[in-house]
Amino acid sequence: MTKTVLIVEDNELNMKLFHDLLEAQGYETLETREGLQALSLARQHRPDLILMDIQLPEISGLEVTKWLKEDDELAKIPVIAVTAFAMKGDEERIREGGCEAYLSKPISVGLFLSTVRKFLD
């Protein structure tokens, strides 16, 4: 069965990058730019993995992750945080927020794919 990844990313080109990468690996993708919509999409489609940009325009990706993890039915979906913050301590903060993995922008294609595979295969 084809695995589905929900991409939460507000930058159009980054969205295309992640979409193309995942599509090339044969995964289905769901896309949204807004944190709130991510929550309803997750409820509706129950994706196998969520790729979460942390710097979203209206609400922080960390906040959305917190809601996801508070929801018993959604809590088990793994979340990979993607962020342009590259400070020491950010990774801890993000992991404490409930994210299962962390990738910093700019991504390396190899690392990106191996991280995704870890949760889907």
Binding site: N14, K16, A84
Partner: protein, 555 residues
């Protein structure tokens, strides 16, 4: 206190000059009297004997020399002149028949001169000298030097002349010197106290005003001061501070305070207090409104400059985050092409994809440098210190740079010690130090050159040096290097970096309590030494656990 003392001294000097002029006038008078007396004798008695003429000349000599007092006056000159007057008087006396001769009164000539210079010390000195002169003349007589006294009536006339001239000279001297009497009289002191521009105060232990002289600053009423004490002239809000200053002055001996006066909104007065031996407080109050305003302006300017600088650091931090988003697309898509994720790619396009990715990588390095520097400047950088073998992060950095060195046609040599170098340090910072130093060395060394890295231990410090055979840095540029955003060389060379490399190295070294030293000769090469403390001797057993050290930029 110092300025008061120098004022007093200046005043004394002025008076001396006055005395010098008066003495010169008096000397001219004496010379005139001498000439007139001698002339009169000559006319009435015929040509006087040689001894008498010589005595007159002798008595005139010190007067001529005394004229110099008008130009150069000093206690030493005065003493010397007194001695000359004594010698002249005694000499004239001895030439004209000794102590029993007619010119004996002239032995007192130094007294007449001293009368001019003022009473007291000079008179005493002159009296002592006169006695000495008389004694010498007497001794001369005893020893057989006894020229004959002139015959009568010359003898009588000379004696009369000597008495009259001495009497008159003493009288005019005294009269003259009284007119130039000392300036520091009680009246003068009071005038000085009243007319000087500050308010001088004497206070008792309770802070009540005992006396006040001078001009009160704006907003301080004289009446209120005398009736209500200092408390009465200070604004209500500042009374506690006044009390504090009074107490401090009583305890420590002195105190300073800036206070708002009761009668002038927006005014400021400065109060300096000092406790004297008698237990009283003496103080100066002056207007400090302008000074205070000036100080406020400086503080404001400093705050503004700091805000601007921290704003700049925040901007840099935000900017480096913003730049990562488009960079993610550039590097991500070019990485997809490099990996040929969607099938084969013509060779040329593959090469371009490679170049795009490499440039992206370079851009990312610059952004990371910018971010690190802004964090160090914003005091947000935290070292993650752990116990490690310094050779490991350094070897890792060397591996990364070796490819670049080969590409640039440079020989990169490294000398690492065979045994582990255990040090308490942040591995990432250590790696950054080496990467920055090597990348600088590679950038600024022409093809065929050599870059040498040496790692060694020196007592309890680690010494890392990177030397190159590159273009070198001029002494002038050397001074600016290591300050953020400063770069050496011309614009061509500058285009190769952000100017942050060495600042980061220095920043990281200082975070570790270490230092960075640059040595360079233009055209020959550059050598950068980084010294980090915290090296653990091989036999040390306890290994401290990881700890966090915050950066403190005030050094």
């Amino acid at each position: 206190m110092a300025s008061a003392a120098s004022n007093v001294r200046a005043d004394a000097a002025r008076r001396s000059v006055g005395a010098g002029r008066v003495a010169a006038m008096w000397c001219l008078g004496w010379l005139t009297a001498l000439a007139a007396g001698t002339g009169a004798l000559w006319l009435t008695q015929g040509r006087p004997p040689v001894e008498v003429l010589a005595a007159a000349a002798l008595a005139g000599a010190p007067a001529v020399l005394s004229l110099l007092l008008a130009w150069r006056d000093s206690p030493a000159a005065r003493s010397l002149l007194l001695i000359l007057w004594t010698a002249a008087g005694a000499g004239a006396c001895a030439l004209t028949g000794g102590l029993s001769g007619p010119l004996t009164p002239w032995c007192l000539l130094p007294l007449a001169f001293a009368a001019l210079l003022g009473p007291g010390l000079w008179m005493a000195q002159a009296a002592a000298l006169a006695v000495l002169g008389v004694a010498v003349a007497a001794l001369g007589q005893v020893a057989g030097f006894e020229p004959a006294a002139p015959a009568e009536p010359l003898r009588f006339l000379l004696g009369l002349y000597a008495l009259v001239s001495l009497g008159m000279s003493i009288a005019t001297g005294l009269a003259r010197s009284r007119r130039t009497a000392p300036a520091v009289s009680g009246v003068e002191v009071e005038r000085l106290l009243v007319e000087q521009p500050h308010l001088l105060l004497a206070l008792d232990e309770a802070g009540r005003v005992l006396s006040a002289f001078g001009f009160a600053p704006k907003g301080v009423a004289h009446k209120a001061l005398l009736s209500g004490g200092l408390e009465g002239v200070v604004a209500d809000d500042d009374r506690p501070r006044l009390a504090e200053a009074l107490a401090a002055a009583m305890v420590t001996g002195q105190a300073e305070a800036m206070l708002a006066p009761a009668g002038q909104t927006g005014g400021v007065v400065a109060l300096s207090l000092r406790r004297a031996q008698d237990g009283r407080l003496y103080g100066v109050m002056r207007d400090a409104t302008q000074q205070h305003a000036h100080e406020l302006k400086l503080v404001e300017a400093k705050t503004a400059a700091e805000a601007l600088n921290s704003g700049k650091s925040r901007f840099l931090a935000n900017m480096s985050h913003e730049l990562r988003t488009p960079l993610n697309t550039i590097m991500g898509f070019s990485d997809i092409m490099r990996a040929r994720l969607f099938g084969p790619l013509p060779t040329k396009y593959a090469e371009y994809a490679e170049l795009i990715h490499e440039s992206g990588r370079h851009l990312l390095d610059l952004i990371n440098d910018l971010l690190d520097m802004s964090k160090i400047e914003a005091e947000r950088f935290q070292l993650q210190v752990e116990m490690l073998d310094a050779r490991e992060p350094i070897s890792a950095a060397l591996r990364l740079m070796r490819v670049q060195a080969d590409d640039a046609g440079l020989s990169l040599r490294a000398t690492l010690p065979p045994e582990p170098l255990e040090i308490e340090a942040d591995p990432r910072a250590l790696k950054q130090i080496v990467l920055n130093l090597l990348s600088n060395a590679l950038k600024f060394t022409p093809r065929g050159g050599q870059v040498t890295l040496t790692l060694a231990s020196q007592a309890d410090a680690l010494e890392l040096s990177v030397a190159d055979t590159g273009m070198g840095i001029s002494a002038e540029d050397l001074k600016r290097l290591g300050c953020p955003y400063e770069q050496a060389g011309d614009s061509m060379q500058r285009s190769l970096g952000t100017g942050l490399g060495l600042s980061l190295v220095r920043g990281f070294a200082e975070l570790h309590g270490g230092e960075m030293i640059i040595e360079s000769t233009l055209g020959e090469g550059t050598s950068v030494l980084v010294r980090l403390p915290g090296l653990v001797q091989a036999d040390a057993e306890d290994r401290p656990s990881a700890k966090v050290i915050a950066f403190n930029p005030t050094r």
